[in-house]
Amino acid sequence: MEYHLKTPIDEETVRKLRTGDILYITGRMVTLRDEGHARFLEEGGADIDLKGMVLYHCGPIITKDGDGLEVVSAGPTTSMRLEKFEKDFIKKTGISLIVGKGGMGESTAEACREYGCVHGIFPGGCAVAAASKIKSVGGVIWEDLGMPEAMWIFDAEEFGPVTVNIDTVGGNLMKRK
């Protein structure tokens, strides 16, 4: 099935999604990698409501374009590196969708089932295609972590194709392959 979803994505919609479905996302996505996850969970302090939003495993290239910020190149990073954080992150934020590359582990899958979240895959290395679907940068949190690790807030339009990897009923595309 193919879905065109808008954030915030409600739990009922998330629980309908199945492994192998193709998603196109319009709305708010935030980026976080290793350092950002650690700070979010250990120190907190990011004043942002992520319920129903999309977490994008990505360390983009961003340039300053006059007063604004421009997304130059923004493909996915390896999701498995964030495995040790993701269960707590899903629980704490109520995020609906995680997008990255490659698979994730059982701890994330368990949180997806329990709290209503899915993990999806955007084609790795397709960073200009991804950037072309990000219409604006809504801001940045923790820029001191450096460009790849900061939390960038993206407003996306028809961001995809995102293939559902882990769903809420035990489906796991990468584990099956």
């Binding site: 895959i121 790795g124 290395g125 397709c126 960073a127 450096g146 460009m147 690790e149 293939t163 990468m174």
Partner: protein, 308 residues
């Protein structure tokens, strides 16, 4: 962006060393920008062939995205992948090359200029403090490997060495009793475990030698060899073929979506082993392996055959 034309390359006279150095730096910086935004001809051609041959629906969708990405990166002159890596230079420098003593500074200058112009992502992180240096500079960044050869020319293979694609890499020393069979098993297991995270289909470099460091270096040299080339040694060539078939049979496919092929190429490079050792190393490159070779003549003209 096109490869600089001959007449644009060098305008200054050879007696003005500083000016020449700066000009060469600018030309090399432009080539690095080109490398961030365009795949070399051999890699691009192999990707197009794989996309053409693929019949699996999910895999085809990923190839479509890859081809769209190549076209957008080209038309917008933007880095193909946000992970523009840490620039690596493998230099074969002729002992009589006129700027031999300045070449390290020129390469560092070119990397710094490309960082601003491309732009490249800041990827140099202090291993102890985890602070990003913010400018892609730091100990061994950019990384330069030197080989001094006879002659007055320089050949530089530049590689934007990404993080995700480097994750499956390893080097270790086996006993001769474990030898090549154990090495094959370890390589296949590692690709099965971590290959999907390295942005497949992958370029595979395998190095074999007497100690871990030698094998590691050879695996990187193997990775940088052109697609479609073979090792001249019949047994090394057989190993390339065997691993190519084995790794494709894993059905990882583009982005792990399955499909016909999982690797662009398997390249093997080797040196002798010690009677007591069998060292093996693996280096992996993503589908967007950004590697190109430039030659600089005595007249300081820069030529590369890796781009159209």
């Amino acid at each position: 962006m096109k490869v600089p034309k001959e007449e644009e390359n060098m305008k200054a006279g050879i007696e003005n060393g500083t000016k020449i150095g700066k000009d060469l730096e600018s030309v090399l910086a432009r080539l690095l920008c080109l490398l961030a935004t365009h795949l070399p001809k051999d890699v691009a051609q192999r990707i197009r062939e794989m996309a053409e041959k693929e019949n699996d629906g999910a895999a085809k969708k990923v190839y479509d995205c890859m081809l769209e990405n190549m076209s957008l990166a080209d038309s917008l002159a933007r880095p193909l992948c946000q992970d523009t890596g840490i620039p690596n230079f493998y230099v074969k420098a002729g002992a009589d090359f006129p700027l031999l003593g300045s070449l390290e500074g020129i390469l560092k200058g070119a990397a710094a200029k490309a960082f601003k112009d491309a732009p490249l992502r800041p990827n140099a992180v202090d291993p102890f403090t985890s602070k990003n240096t913010g400018n892609n500079e730091g100990p061994l960044a950019p990384y330069i490997d030197w080989q001094i050869v006879e002659g007055d020319e320089v050949e530089i293979t530049a590689y934007l060495c990404g993080g995700g694609c480097s994750l499956p890499g390893f080097a270790l020393v086996l006993t001769p009793g474990e030898g090549i069979e154990k090495a094959k098993e370890l390589i296949v297991d590692k690709i099965l475990e971590k290959g999907v995270n390295a942005c497949p289909p992958l370029v595979i470099g395998v190095g074999i030698g007497a100690s871990a460091d030698i094998a590691a270096k050879l695996s990187k040299k193997a990775l940088l060899r052109k697609i479609g080339t073979e090792n001249g040694n019949p047994m090394a060539k057989d190993l390339e073929k065997e691993l190519f078939e084995k790794l494709n049979s894993l059905k990882i496919g583009p982005s792990g979506m399955g499909g016909a092929e999982s690797v662009l190429a398997v390249n093997v490079e080797f040196g002798v082993r010690h009677p007591a050792t069998f060292a093996v190393a693996l280096a992996t490159g993503c589908w967007a392996t950004r590697r190109a070779t430039f030659r600089i003549g005595k007249d300081l003209k820069v030529v590369s055959e890796d781009f159209d």
